[in-house]
């Protein structure tokens, strides 16, 4: 279907009008006007239940949003995404993260070689996991590996780190005797702390970088190699027994000295922030085993199929995306917070920060012009119960409008029966009930303010709650590899829906390049190798650093 910009403009114009109208109404009023609201604005799918009745939306605005999606060619865009068309025009590539978890019959992929190479990569991962599990992956001294350090940054870190934490309860018996560490930051703090407690003889490094040129990763990796060289002295032995490299560039891995057997390959059609489903997910596979890793992929695939086939009105990622566009563009809400009510999802907000802001933090359309409206909001979050003691004050009584995603697994401790004493388990189940109660109570107060508890409406002004902060609540039956896979896939697709409606490219990240480049000049300036003047402020900072650094030979 050809996209008609006139139609799109007309619908947008209508939506701005409806938004003006709806801004004048409170969520409480919306509930009063529509008694079927909870049924109307909720969606169930495969153990998930999405409640978006507490969003500032009504039936006509919702229908107009669906019309906008149709006018923007969302259906065709989804098809282009899953079939492997070029959906990343500035880099002239498809974005085939859905293929990393696809079953052969699911999508009509343009390139028939994709799925076989994905399967080959999974089999190679499996062989590596098996070798580590059977204690036959050995370090230079012949001892089996006990510690695994993932060196990577951005997409090569956030996804594996978040997932290993979230699914720690699914760790295999073999994984329980292994320690997994994550190192990402370029300043060396993390690698310094990690190396201090490790034995070079039993430590294996996973060096993950799509381009295999990421400077942060290579400074950390070189520190790791230097640390190993103190014990081994032979770089070939180190590369053979202490390094696994994961990248889209086999040549660069070879050039760095990694033998082919220790290389895991993925492809330029996998975006970094969409790559935890590929070989980049090796730390996850080591933590939870290949069986659970494949369940994670299956869960994501189930969501992919739902996304590609369900009508928009019942399509969870589409619903999330439309709401995101509605809030950011039409209601002008510039902040979005993700609030999991489960400590296992502690690092999910961090992960989503990259996924959403690096994808949709754009202001130029695919037609090469500036957008005429607001795109991606600022996103942050934390474990909900802890955030209640941190930034909820602003949500409740500040001046900013913020949209919220509450996420909560319902069943929590039913699997730990054998591990905890019965007394502790009863108490833990009570804690889960408390967390769920808080989750529902907070979304209520945020939506309805004092009206949630009528007798509090007469309180002093500083004790009053304005309400009207919109939220969506995700309930999932339980957190498993499968259900986490689906949740993450839904957010990936939400991002794609929003980008399609905004006509921006969610798969590039040109905004992170310039800073990297001028850091090289600046590094030379700090080392006194470059006599160049920048701006007055930067020059003064450089002088200050040089004068102090001479004392500790940092530069």
């Amino acid at each position: 279907m050809a996209v008609d910009s006139g139609v799109i403009e007309a619908i947008r114009h209508a939506l701005f009008g409806m938004a003006t109208d709806l801004k004048a109404r409170s969520i409480a009023q919306l509930f009063e006007m529509d008694t079927k609201r909870a049924e109307r604005f909720s969606q169930e799918f495969s153990g998930y239940y999405l409640d978006y009745a507490k969003q500032r939306i009504d039936v006509s605005a919702w229908q107009a949003l669906c019309d906008l999606a149709r006018a923007c060619g969302l259906k065709e865009a989804i098809n282009a995404l899953v079939c492997g068309d070029v959906v990343n025009p500035t880099e002239n590539r498809p974005a085939l993260h859905t293929a990393l978890r696809a079953r052969p019959e699911a999508f009509a992929l343009k390139d028939a070689t994709v799925l076989p190479s994905v399967e080959r990569s999974l089999l190679k991962m499996n062989a590596i996991v098996e070798k580590i599990y059977s204690k036959q992956w050995r370090g230079f001294s012949g001892k089996a590996i006990t510690d695994i350090v993932n060196i990577g940054v951005g997409g090569s870190d956030l996804g594996p780190f978040m997932t290993c934490h979230a699914l720690a309860e699914f760790a295999t018996a073999e994984a329980l005797r292994l320690n997994m560490h994550f190192v990402s930051s370029m300043d060396g703090t993390q690698i310094f702390q990690v190396l201090e407690n490790l034995d070079p003889a039993t430590t294996l490094f996973i060096v993950s970088s799509k381009s295999f040129t990421t400077i942060d990763t290579f400074y950390n990796a070189n520190t790791a190699i230097a640390w190993l060289m103190d014990s081994v002295g032979d770089r070939r032995v180190i590369m053979r027994h202490h390094v696994i490299a994961i990248s889209a560039s086999s040549e660069k891995m070879c050039a760095w000295g990694v033998p082919e057997s220790n290389q895991l390959l993925f492809w330029d059609w996998v975006g970094g922030r969409f790559s935890m489903w590929s070989a980049i997910g090796l730390p996850i596979a080591i933590k939870i085993g290949m069986k659970c890793f494949r369940e994670l992929l299956d869960g994501a695939h189930e969501m992919d199929v739902h996304f590609a086939t369900a009508p928009f009105e019942h399509n969870i990622p589409v619903i999330m995306g439309l709401l995101g566009v509605w809030n950011a563009t039409f209601l002008g809400i510039h902040a979005h917070t993700v609030l999991p009510y489960d400590g296992r999802l502690k690092f999910l907000p961090n992960y989503l920060t990259q996924l959403e802001m690096e994808s949709n933090g754009k202001s130029v359309t695919n037609d090469g012009v500036l957008v005429g409206f607001d795109t991606c909001p600022i996103l942050w979050g934390d474990v909900g119960p802890n955030a209640q003691h941190a930034f909820y004050q602003l949500l409740h009584q500040g001046t900013q409008a913020v949209s919220c995603d509450f996420i909560a697994p319902i069943m929590r401790y039913h699997r730990v029966e054998e591990n905890a004493s019965s007394g502790a388990r009863i108490s833990l189940v009570e804690q889960q009930c408390l967390a769920l109660a808080n989750c529902l109570a907070q979304s209520r107060v945020l939506a309805f303010g004092n009206q949630a508890v009528p007798e509090s409406a007469e309180a002093e002004i500083y004790k009053r709650y304005r309400g009207n902060q919109p939220s969506t609540t995700w309930l999932m039956d339980e957190l498993t590899p499968q259900s986490l896979g689906g949740l993450l896939a839904a957010y990936e697709h939400k991002v794609f829906v929003m980008a399609t409606l905004w006509n921006i490219n969610p798969f590039d990240q040109w905004g992170v390049e310039l800073g990297k480049n001028i850091a090289k000049q600046t590094q030379a300036a700090l080392k006194d190798q470059l006599v160049q003047s920048f701006d007055g402020s930067t020059d003064a900072l450089i002088r200050r650093i040089r004068s102090k650094a001479e004392r500790d030979t940092s530069c």
Binding site: K131, S134, Q136, R138, F140, S141, G142, K143, D234, V237, R240, H241
Partner: protein
Amino acid sequence: MKISIYGQDVDALVAAVCLAEAGHEVQLSRLGEGGKQISWDDTYIDKEPGLLNRYRSVLGRNLRVRTFKDAAGFGTAQWVFGRGQSEKGLFDIFRSLAKARRKGVLYLLTSHHRVGTYECVRRILCEEGVATEEDQCPLVPMPVMIREGVALSDFESPSLLVVGTTDEHSINVVTQMLRPYTIRAGKTLFVDGLTSEVIRNAISTMLATRLSFINKIAQLCEKLGVDVEVVRDAMAGDPRVGSEYLNPGCGFGGDNLADELANVQALLPKGSAARQLMDAVALTNEEQKELLFRKVWSYYQADICGKTVAIWGAAFKPGTDSLVNSPVLILLEAFWAQGVRTRVYDPQALEALRLKYQGQELLDCVDSPYEAAERADALLIVTAWKEFYNPDFERLKSLLATPAIFDGRNIYEPEAMRELGFEYFGLGRGLRI
């Protein structure tokens, strides 16, 4: 006395033969796993030195081999050897025995099951009505300490005889039954059932601890450049230490020490100092089994794919064809995972090895120690069979592609090996790596 014996191992056979020789009427029921009837052939019996002849001479006279049902209705003493039985299998046997026989029978139990097994069996006998909670239970744990290879003399002249009963009647029956062997026992103790189980546990665990301890000392010696044999010899000369179970080696196998160690580990709470001690003993032994592999690995600078190693000995100790918990299993898996070909010779255990690893392309089982050594990049000594002590070293050296010997039993002298032109790596002696 009429005695019925049930079991599937050498211990049961030895007890049956010795008791028949002592004039008792013995019926032996060969019980396999889950109480199934099994049969031994002469080859099995002949593995224990001297046993086959003595077995033949009493068979059909005082010793008869019968079905479980016949034996259960026969003996006034019913002796169950539990090795090879699951816990449930063991309990089922006692339940069947109790059902088969009226009161007035004494039950004896020899097993390596966990502490508390005695109590479980006692309850079964109560449930089945052949014992009561109030009276002394006619059940006697007999932690027989028989070593393979010297089983007959261990049974006939035990250095320690522990009998798990304090009931006068039971003591009399056992004493009568075991005469003349009780007279020859170095020390005889009558203790309650639970105590007898703990004694059995404690002795085995102590031995395991000594072995892991001396292995750690050997590692320390290696690091410091001291000959562990000299240290061991001196330690053995101190009567407080003694010489038994004090030889460094590439790990103890079999099921006795390992099972008892696991029993004790299971009794201790995780994280407690006592548990950590036992865990360290077990871990040290597991590491010890890999040690020869690691030495070869280091010798070839962590690049051993495509190499060939000769392995002398597969049985967990000399004098047996058993591979149970043998270091060779760990070594073979480690070498194969790295793509190393293994040529193994063992005078008795090759058949078991072939059977266990059918289709393993990297395993060659060969008929002589020299054949194993042909073009090998290293020779490993895993089991201290006598025939390995004095090979034709010149021939051996000419056969090996690299004359490097990794001795997991310290059977050679480092200096002599050096003079013969070998690179010799022992445990805590010889060349360091």
